[in-house]
Structures are given as structure tokens and as C-alpha cells.
Symmetry: C2
Subunit: 166 residues, 2 copies
Amino acid sequence: MGYSIGQVAERCGISTYTLRYYDKEGLLPFVKKTPSGLRDFSDQDIELLRIIECLKGTGMQIKDIRQYIVWLMQGDSTLQQRLDMFERQKERLQMQMRQLMDFMDKIDFKIDFYKDAVAHGDTNVYERNPDLVRRKKKLFGCCAAAPAKKARKNSTRQSPNSADCQ
Amino acid sequence: MGYSIGQVAERCGISTYTLRYYDKEGLLPFVKKTPSGLRDFSDQDIELLRIIECLKGTGMQIKDIRQYIVWLMQGDSTLQQRLDMFERQKERLQMQMRQLMDFMDKIDFKIDFYKDAVAHGDTNVYERNPDLVRRKKKLFGCCAAAPAKKARKNSTRQSPNSADCQ
DNA sequence: TCTTGACTTAGAGCTAACTCTAAATTTTAT
DNA sequence: ATAAAATTTAGAGTTAGCTCTAAGTCAAGA
């Protein structure tokens, strides 16, 4: 006897609905059943569930996680595919972490902006704080993500409008 | 004249469909229109779009992003709310980064596991590699996320089954 | 001027990932 | 023994966030 679906749900912070959904989607083919038909999770099943969480939490779709499960069931002939998959997922995760750090820089900037704004009761922050001007330029000024294409006909920048950087 | 919706879409890597959807959802009330009705994005609009991306990318729902936009429109009386929001979002982001690092540890473990497995053509990795045994225990052994409740009646651990840690 | 492509709106359609319901069965506690 | 709680299945319903279509308008180049 291992763990019931409710015990696993509580322990892993996943609803029983979701666990049954994962099973239905083919993510839990290793989970045994008791003679009367109840799911019976082993420690290995829970470990696999942690890996599923990990793949899902790094942006993998359920149909792609199922591919991994299929490879597991196919045995040692798919070891290389599984290694490749985890290496691809690691690269993906590294990109996500870089993006989160970029978001953190922007949020830190906003926090400092609003701290000054709250302290003075207005948003004339850049007139008071040259450091924030510098950071704003670094974070938002001309990222040039895509190679700049043709601009609109009359492409002079308009003067700063109502909602300047809030 | 600023940027057309297509120019913004290309520059920011967001489809025109999505930009119009954001507008419909009230996220882009500051975007002007030309006399003939075309959207005309300013640099400030694009900067706000970057913040929207940032909030969305750190897990905020569109209805909550709209609340921020509403506060922007309400002016200086909502500065404190906006500061609080960014500080909450920063905490959320820190949690996300911690979780991603945890995922990274698990993926690194899997990569090392499968490198050994591929090298030897089988999954008897733990018999060869004591370091991986140690790391496996550290990563998956008895996390005790929730306070352990009543175990199942006959709660002896079952012997390792077919799919042990793959 | 004509043509081609980008833009507009309203609203329908789609997808992924759950989330729940109903009716029956099983387990646990008293 | 019996009541309450947990589980089972199949299948319907929900949600968020797009994504697309249709029918029409606007803009830029030849």
C-alpha cells in the first residue's frame, strides 16, 4: 500500500481533479490500482510527479510531457532522447531566468520611481532624481529588439504626453 | 505621428490581434487615434506595454493589470497603491525565481543521470554513481511539504518497482 | 487612378489546463 | 452495522488568453 490520491494531492499541492486529469492524459501510467480499483501511488510515482511539475513549471505542455512518459515506457532505447529533452528544457529554463531577471530590473526601477513619487506626492521624479533618468533610459530606451524597419511617413516623435512613464 | 499597430507588433514581438485584445480589455487607454481612426502608439505607450509584458510575464492576470491602468488614469491619489502593487509583484517574482532554481537543480540532476545512463546503455546509475544517489535523496527524498497526516492503513513502503527514478 | 496591403470593428472560435457533476463503489470511523 | 468520507468513471463546463473571420476603410506605391 502506498498513498491514496487524496494523500498525494495534499502532499504535492495538486488537486485530485488535476491528478485524475494527468492520469487521463497518460502522464501517470505507472500508478498501480488496488484490487478494488483505487489508485495506489508509490514513492517513485511521487518522484515522477515532481518531475512532471518541474517540466510543466518550466513551460512544457502536457502533450510533450506525455512524450517523455512514452519514452520511459519504451525503456533503455530512448535514453538519448530523454537526455536531449532535459538539455533542451535546461536551455529554455535559462532563458526564462534571464527574462525574470530583466523583469526584476524593471520592477525595481518602478519601485524606486514610486517611492520617490509617494514621498513627494507627485510624479515629477525625473526632475529630482537623475539616477532614475539614467536607469529609465537603460531599461526602456531603444531596446532595438527587432531590426528597425520603415517608420511611418511623418515620423517625428511627438512631445511627451499625459502618461509619461508611470 | 508615432507607430502603427503593425510596427509595435513587430518591435515588441506581440501580434496585432493581441494588441487589439489588450486595448479591448482596457490595457491601452492612452493610445491615441489618428483622425481617420488608426491607432497611433507613442514611445510612452510602448514603455507602458513593456511594463504590461513584465507584469504578465510574472504571472499577473489581465484584470489585475487593468487595475493598475485604472490607477494610472486616476492620477497622483493612487501612487501608494501602485507602489504596493509593484512591491507585491516583486515578492511574487522572487518566489518564482526560487522555484525556477529548484527546477534547475532537478533538471541538472536528470541531465547527469541520463549522461551516465546513455554512456552505459542502461539505468543502473545508482549502482555506479554514489554522488547521484546523494543528490537524488536531497532533491526528492522526504520533502515533507505538508505536515504528514494519517497514512494509509497498511502503510509499509512497497519495494522499488519498474520505473525507479527515470 | 488603381491596386495592394495594412488597418478598423464586432464578434465568433479556439486551445490548454483544468474543474466540476453525477451516480456508483469503497473505505473508515463510530 | 451503519453513516460519513473518499474514491471511481465518463463526460460536461469553465477560464484565460488569445486568434481569427468578415466586411469594410485607409494608405502608399506604380
